[in-house]
């Protein structure tokens, strides 16, 4: 059980770091509250939707900014508005802030400024996506592990150690998620 606790602690620590670094804010916490037995993966679902949306919008803006015949700043503003709204709703603070900065450049119809902002925005988005995906993996891993433990503890009167294969797979997951495997005792 200690293993699971450690993993869960890992999750909590990681999650805290995201808040600390400003990757996510309180709104993200609100989203976490929406997870319950009816929608256990709500945050992941919303995040996935957001990633899709974000990529599409960033793409559109990149294309718009490349138009030789003239940049449609109106369209860019609309994209920014949408992105700001979404990022705000899920608590993606740095993405949201990048949007706000972007908005003033697009308002000023400053193409160079917009390009820089778009780059910044892409960067923040990538960062967010990576971190959130890591978080999700740790979360999933700890849940998997917990479930496994439950199954094995219940099913195994002798409290034998886990089947190697399973442990191996879980360890892989954890490591892939950026965690480390505590020493087994």
């Amino acid at each position: 059980m200690d293993f699971v606790n450690q993993l869960q602690r890992k999750f909590i620590d990681y999650s805290s770091s995201l808040h600390r670094e400003g990757i996510v804010d309180d709104q993200f916490t609100q989203l976490r509250k929406l997870e319950d037995e009816n929608s256990p993966h709500f945050v992941m679902e919303v995040a996935s939707l957001f990633f899709e949306d974000c990529e599409k919008l960033i793409n559109n803006m990149a294309i718009a900014l490349e138009q030789k015949q003239g940049v449609d700043f109106k369209q860019i503003e609309e994209c920014i508005h949408q992105l700001k709204g979404s990022s705000s709703s899920i608590g993606a603070m740095r993405v949201k802030n990048a949007c706000i900065a972007f908005r003033s450049f697009s308002g000023a119809q400053n193409r160079e400024g917009c390009l820089r902002c778009l780059q910044q925005l892409s960067h923040e988005y990538s960062l967010l996506k990576n971190k959130l995906q890591t978080l999700f993996r740790v979360s999933v891993a700890s849940r998997c592990l917990y479930v496994c433990l439950v199954i094995f503890c219940r099913g195994n009167e002798h409290a034998e150690p886990f089947p190697d294969v399973l442990v191996f797979q879980l360890e892989k997951q954890i490591v892939a998620a950026g965690g480390s495997i505590p020493r087994v005792h």
């Binding site: 709104q27 609100q30 509250k33 709500f42 939707l49 709204g85 979404s86 705000s88």
Partner: protein, 580 residues
Amino acid sequence: MKLEATKFRPREVVKHVLQTAAASLQKILTLEGNVADDVPIEVIGDVLRIRQILTNLISNAIKFTHEGKVGVKLYVVPEPPFAKEGSQHGSDGSTANQTTTNVPKEETCTSTSQTSSDQRGFHGKKHEGSCQNRSQSEPGTPVMNGKIDVTEEQAELPETTVWIRCDVYDTGIGIPENALPTLFKKYMQVSADHARKYGGTGLGLAICKQLVELMGGRLTVSSRVHCGSTFTFILPYKVSLSCDHSDDSDDPDDLSDMDDHGDSDDDATNGFFQFQPRTLGSLFSSNGSSRTQKLLAHNIGHVNSHKINGFSENYCSFPTSNGQAKEMDLVEDACSVAEALEISSEPECSFSHSPDHDSESAICRGRRHHNDVNAENKVSSIDVSTYSETSREVDVKVKISEPQLPAERQGRSDSGSQSTLNTSQEVSNSISKPKILLVEDNKINVLVTQSMMKQLGHTIDVVNNGVQAVRAVQCRSYDLVLMDVCMPVMDGLQATRLIRSFEETGNWDAAAKAGIERPSPSSDSLQPDCTPPKHIPIIAMTANALSESAEECFANGMDSFVSKPVTFQKLKECLEQYLP
């Protein structure tokens, strides 16, 4: 909303509110306060709310006044007729219990009674009481010189009720007639441009009105464009007879002693305050009024001319800066306002119960001002005039800054102060689940909001723009609409306007004009209009946290707003407030 009952000192409240306003005053304006000496030293009431109302009215006055003055006048009046409807004090409305029985005064008396009798068509002692000397004009009032008219009933009461009227007047831009009827409606401002120019949420007056009425009083207004406005609220206050200041107040004989005090005391014999911007503090100006003492029916140790806590006051019911030309214009114009109000169609100013009183009180006020000025009273204040003139020379930056009711700015706090404001809204009965409409174009926002609502126990309908929102409302009767502001095709502001137009007119003409075809007759919400369509609470969801955005929402008919991102707390408060 629970009303408090605390003892407080009206003079202090007035002074303090004015002082606070003056401290942040960035225009060249005179702020003055004038508390009649028949106003008790201490009264019992919800001082916090009264302070809020006063602050709001004063800050409005300041906001809309660019030169001249803003002032507060406080004085006792007899129990107004509307009080009988819900009076808890067992007063039978007889003037004896409530009125101010005065020692007759000099010419002011005459003029006032003349004022009273001049008023056409008014009814109600409220008007007679606008000058405290109206005892002369009331036939039925047992007036005994130098004595308190104390009935048996009153003498035995441990506390009694005094009705105090407060006028907040200004020499500002005034209010056009056509804006008067909707002035006290929530989120209504004189115009959208007006809202843009002057800011504000349009909530203040509605809140004030509700608060005043909740406390058993009335809030009314009279105004003239380019001249100024006067907002008046009348409230009942309990007064404890066991007041510390009572100088053996139960004994009428003692009170007759008070007679002698007034005239001789010159220093600070008036409840008059005046503030200018950038002054280091208040200025108490003795206007040298030699008002004779008024005795009070309430048998309480009241103001006499002695300094009590530095606030020795003498009654001074007339605008004291009468000497100034501006004020003269004002009062003359106030008279014309009154006339204008008489002639024009009756604005349903503040409350539906007695519209007559609104215009009449305005008439009364106008006339009274007019006559008061003419009746040259000794009130006037050469001191005051001088001071004001001097102060005008002070070079002060003109920047509008005013205190505001804290409740005005935030959706969240709105719910607190507005908790009682929506009691009149009809909502579907509690048996059926409330029908909620979410109007939002952003998929992520929809998902998040919908999930939150689900967790709060509500299923919601979702549409993605203003046109769809109007169509949805045409087809179904909703109990609450959460309306995003910025949307493609049609934004939330316009959609709200169209919905409100339907609520006001009973038809969808405006929507049709905007290109939304009318609903088919078979839709369930389109009943033959025997009953006016009910008001649907529409909550704006604003991404723009700046205040202009909020004002625009209110100006377009929204009831409240939540700023995005949407959280549980915000939704919960919304639901609690707008659903039964």
